[in-house]
Subunit: 378 residues, 4 copies
């Protein structure tokens, strides 16, 4: 059996989720290659060594370049802050590594384009961590749509709202600084719902017009709380979009949306029915069929279970619940099997670029107060 | 005690709701004038006589002009199809009658402007049937906002989605014909949510940009089902708006939104909290306060009860439920007491005009593919 | 057209609900007789006169006997405190009046038996105000069961929980005094769910075993808050029951159930499906069918609408909402039409007696710590 | 760092869940000993070898006695069908092993008593797999109760309903055979809710009275579907209980409860508030406080997050979701740390015995049609 050796760079919030998923994936799924947690990089050798122990990695280093250049590594897994994605990915691609990067792929669509083109040219495989589409429940939504159960899609409403910056006294961190994060809520959150919209509608976003706002204009300096520093990107944004197939859509995002803890949600209206979902109830999908007898019409709450995609690998009984790290585990399965079988992985860097392009087009449309075709951007 | 004599014109769906509300209002509320169901007009004397009997009106006629010109009538209540609102209202105003009209006030903002100005000049009182804001639950939302419980409003998301035309085999009726209905879903449905947004945000919509679509482009001729006739106005529309106070907003409407039977809903985000509501659960308001202890944060489901506005007149115990006709009964109370006490009624023709202006601006912004200031319209 | 003349006795909470329902019923429904609010009794002539005016009754009196003995009255409507039901009903029956009484029919099953037998002997019609079964949503539940959509019923779980006495500082009122109220939560609340269980299961409760508790053993004297008086009946009770047809059931009731404002609810499990309901969302019924494709199974939320029993008389569109007084209006329709057509009314005094018998059997089974057959009681 | 070596016996549904939890536990939690998946037994050496590979265990055997007798094993983990629990546990205890057993601990309370006494005498640690109480959400419920936030508990309503045998055509398996399974729904499902009730109420069940029913009396023989075999234990059961502290409770269980996929739920009423939960939404707890302003009372939906017990180890953001295997991972943490630190583990065999005693008492009370004190049983 082939072995796939992972080099993980970055061990913060999302790096740790990767580590949990690596740990459970071989037990959960019949992987088609042996997964080895091989090498781990952090910003100091000490931190790297400690995290390698916690996460079950064999080796560690204080310099990410060691991982990228190591001949024994098959996949470079990038879990660093956003502004480092490009440099690391390009270096890894140059070394002929497959690259698995967290989202957003880059700070701008132009950077993302460079990355996707470099990977394409080098012939390496890529995967972007849009893990929410790996949830069995959203895979079920996809299945329902593809089978035509709700007819032709005529409207997509999607949100990714959270409230992690709702409190104006929360100090400014890198998310609020343009050169570290790029866009604000759009880049950090809406990337997910934009990608998901294209996956579920089965068509790409073609034109957009957006509105944006920085509601909390300054925040305390984390080093000196009595000083206020400017917030450099948007707290909330809305965009109206049109997909290639003509479908109308609305995307909303906010990082100050009080009460929305994991407010990734969609309502997808078709000519024959509707599906509705919120990530806060990640094991439930609501399905309405207009073809039902009028006296028995209504939204049905489907609890994800073994009759739905991938669920049975976690549990054989319906309604027992899957968690955030479980959807990451599905993503790891796709990574390992994609490499083992030399088959395409989805969503790849090209998809990552297309998502960045939509986000940049939204920002541009806001600045220019007009509808923008996404191809204008990059 | 003063007497207020009602002349009702039109007895279809909404006219019947008025009649039910007139019947129960004097028992529900301590009205400040005696309400008399005096005169009723329909398109034939026979139908008018029959409906007068059913609805408890003293007199009836087959010509609405009789009602308008009758010296014994204080209020002309217009429940006709939309395209007749203007003519009847102007005639009633000319006779010095107070006018209570169903929404949308007119087919266009220009017509609505004429009506509101005529009423103003004549010094008569006006009221438009935006009854959903009379629901004790939405009054409670208003109270929560006004007391500053959720801070400053930073985002309004509102919908009025229904599915009454979701089936493409439903024959074309007057709703789909421009000269009878004016706008499609915007005029029939979004009028409510636009008005409600201004009421709840406490600020008027200043600029808009909209997108619209006629999804089902032809429908069977009701007289000859094998023939298809064009649908002349939009099935669905979305608009991004900005209120005078800078608040961002999104309005969505559809008459083909499968599964949404009474999909009037709002999510209002403030700097300190959020409220959320759907008319399908008209006795529930969800309230989130970000100032709660982080370990005890969450949306609280308030069941409307006697501690909330107007509810106690229907029932002294919480959670017992209020219905659609009950909110109309609150509206009737406002009508009668406004006339009895010679105090302003809300929402009046000026508000009705402002709503029409927003709707027309959305349509214009769609045609011209640009942001439109509502004052450009009329 | 025949006229039905009502004599109303008692104008508190529930008397007022009757008055609202009388006011709107003729407009809502095509009644088969003319309904006349004729005579009203209260404890003083002044109060009676005032309420007659508010409620639109022609005449009033300070002595209920006047109503009962008035030759011009067809129906005596009893909305007094429970302990007066028997005396008034028997007097009315003696005068050959039809009797419409609020629930519980009497303080004990024995009293209720006397009443039902007297009415039967006199040949007068009777109706008991178990209005919750008149809600179109619960009528829909009945229809679903009767059509066999969920198969044979194998389990009934029902509650009537409220929290009106949850606060131990709430002074003692008549509900807590045995000779005024009879049973506590069982009589005041569980009467409804017991009656509803028999209606929905389509079979009568045969044997019971109950548990009961007075949690708050004393309450302030309303005349002297510093004094504590004993609470004489139960705050909460549970009973396991078996219906005639073998179906298992559980009934729970409480007047100290914090947070339950109108916690009348049922979950009815059949061999092929399940329905679930709570009165706090009185326009929603949840329906699950086990015969659905396993990958599309789930509870469907039906919003009550014009395709369901009686709803269309209130509104022609689904999801617009019906309220507490609307279900009372359906009850009034049944009253008037039952008398007009000389057809049986349901639920009548016999059903009221059977409910009281179940309640008394629960109390007895608690005292004797054993299963009790309801026929042991009365 | 100390090492804890696991010997796993049984690899079906629940054995696989254990394996997933073992795999992720060291990454999720800072365990206080090194966890080693050492030895695995199945019914044949081949199956054992295959599962050892899938689950990451070092060694395997076709005879569970090898595991029990292996000097290198610290913990024997029993995931076999119920009827083998006793024999394996007693053998393991005899060898001085710590024992971690799935529920129900044994087929009868008497067997469970033997097991708990043997473990006590041998001084080995024990843990029973009542994993649902390890869910951070239910731990939060416990915290809320212990802090007195809802006052003194006055009522517990709990269910464990599923529908895995709702279809009468599902062939009979070991769950329906007395000598393999012992009780039916009570043993398989209610064990969880009975244990959870004692955990949450903070008091033990003292007396019970139950009702039970085998609704589907025969099922097809799995070897010959045209033949029907008797179902030997109950499909559904209800019990009224009283806890030591006087609190009333109701427990319901069913394996034919159409639509309930993971219907473990509780509603716990206190003198100052109420909490409500269903395992189907395992990351949500509803909390009502009667001390809130009457105009702002309501059930608040808490989404489990990093401010609640154990959640932060899975994810640092609230509302991201935890799954069924995650609560098993918490249980594994308790196992490893309990052994590492030589501290008591909960729930242990004594608790397992007490649960079995309650279940047997319910069955006895049904047969004898009377209230039974749990101490009468074993």
């Amino acid at each position: 059996m082939k072995k796939v050796k992972i080099g993980l760079i970055g061990t913060g919030y999302i790096g740790r989720c990767h580590a949990i998923a690596y740990a459970q994936a071989p037990t959960v799924f019949p992987l088609e290659a042996e997964l080895e947690c091989n090498y781990l990089a952090e910003i100091t050798p000490e931190l790297a060594a400690q995290k390698a122990k916690e996460f079950g990695f064999k080796r560690s280093t204080g310099d990410w370049r060691d991982v990228v250049q190591d001949p024994d590594i098959d996949v470079v897994d990038i879990c660093t802050p956003n502004f480092l994605h490009k440099e690391i990915a390009l270096a890894a691609i140059e070394q002929g590594k497959h690259v698995y990067s967290e989202k957003p792929l880059a700070l701008t669509a132009e950077e993302a384009k460079l990355m996707f083109q470099a990977a394409k040219k080098a012939g390496v495989k890529t995967l972007v961590g849009f893990n929410y589409i790996k949830n069995p429940t959203t895979q079920l939504a996809k299945e329902i749509i593809e089978r035509g159960e709700i007819g032709e899609i005529v409207h997509f409403y999607g949100t990714h709202n959270e409230d992690y910056l709702a409190n104006p006294n929360t100090p400014r961190d890198w998310h609020c600084i343009k050169e570290k994060a790029g866009l604000g809520a759009l880049g950090d959150l809406a990337a997910h719902i934009v990608q998901m919209s294209q996956y579920l509608v089965g068509s790409e976003i073609k034109t957009v017009i957006g509105d944006m706002q920085t509601v909390i204009k300054t925040r305390p300096n984390p080093q000196n709380l009595s000083e206020q520093l400017p917030v450099e990107n948007e707290d909330q944004a809305t965009a109206m979009v049109r997909f290639e197939n003509g479908c109308m859509g609305t995307i909303e995002t906010s990082r100050i949306a009080c009460g929305r803890k994991m407010g990734l949600s969609y309502v997808i209206t078709g000519t024959k029915g509707t599906i509705s979902y919120t990530q806060e109830r990640m094991a439930e999908l609501k399905l309405y069929l207009h073809t039902d007898d009028p006296a028995r019409q209504g939204f049905k709450t489907l609890l994800t279970g073994p009759f739905h995609p991938d669920y049975k690998h976690f549990c054989v009984s319906a309604g027992h619940g899957i968690g955030f790290n479980d959807q990451k585990t599905v993503e790891i399965r796709d990574l390992i099997n994609g490499i083992a079988n030399d088959t395409p992985m989805y969503p790849d860097f090209e998809e990552g670029f297309k998502v960045s392009r939509v986000l940049d087009a939204i920002a541009k449309s806001y600045q220019e107060k007009r509808w923008v075709d996404v191809e204008e951007v990059a």
